[in-house]
Symmetry: C2
Subunit: 198 residues, 2 copies
Amino acid sequence: MSNFQDLRRQAGRLITDPLVPLISRLRLTPDIMTTIGLVVNLVAAVVIGFGHLLWGGLIFLLAGLFDLLDGALARYMQKTTRFGALFDSTVDRVTEGALFLSFIFITGVGAWPYNVTFQLVLIFLALIGSFLTSYIRARAEGLNIDCTVGLFTRVERVIILALGLLLSQVFIALAIVVVLSFVTVGQRFVHVWRQARK
Amino acid sequence: MSNFQDLRRQAGRLITDPLVPLISRLRLTPDIMTTIGLVVNLVAAVVIGFGHLLWGGLIFLLAGLFDLLDGALARYMQKTTRFGALFDSTVDRVTEGALFLSFIFITGVGAWPYNVTFQLVLIFLALIGSFLTSYIRARAEGLNIDCTVGLFTRVERVIILALGLLLSQVFIALAIVVVLSFVTVGQRFVHVWRQARK
């Protein structure tokens, strides 16, 4: 642990320490804090996508506060769970994906043909879905939860994308990747939730 | 392990089983196979980016063969290492990122102002860098390697992106995120390499 990381941790505590006892009295659980953080982050992404950068930035900072508080609250309540850790990490990745997706719309993409925007969103969602599928498994294994379940892993992605390329139907392939990736993310998420309760 | 996954594994072995002894005689190691797969995948991405979908698809399938072979070779040679596993997984994510990035260019983005293409690439690289930073840590922890090193974690990303939004300098913030994320990915990769040798 470097001095820099110590400093970062101390700065985080300066913000969370006074708030955590208050939140704990409101009977909010860490997982509820994570969920509120997710919703606030998604609102920030929508606001940014509509071009309101200042407001979006402020809402994004507010969401960041919830990101800090869920872990701090879990430690304060001595309620750190494996599911909570995976839920928190997965939500972090989802919100990052949503934020970067919202940035597409501030490049001025609205001025181009409608189908181009749609194609760009499809590429983005396929990347996010593919990464999430692999991430949730790696994160689960880090928490000692086996997570090989799921219909649509890398091999299937490669086959669908290769077919899409060979048949010049890349965006149909991407649509399939998006749907099946997010189904698999859901499967793995439910699997971890069940395993972590044991 | 479902029947579907069994079937998938058996189909994979049908391809790899005859090839693996030959490759092992060529004195190629699993990590070299992973590296060749990375290079072939990057070539596929460039070819696809230039709009040659059929050729790109064929090269992409060839790269997929190397992806199958590295793990099979490691098992055959009984040389499965923790570093090899992380290297393989990380390369899979990098090549997926490169492939999806190449798809941006087949939406017809070349016809738009130059700076728009540049901004889209920046958003894409920032997403890939952010995901990789988190992925490499999660994957390392799944292999029982502690991996909290790295200057630029989620907290720093949030601060830089929030500043970018508040000051209406999103693309400067993204450029910083890209550079520092990939530096952190490098730091973590070297860290795992050192730890895995112990």
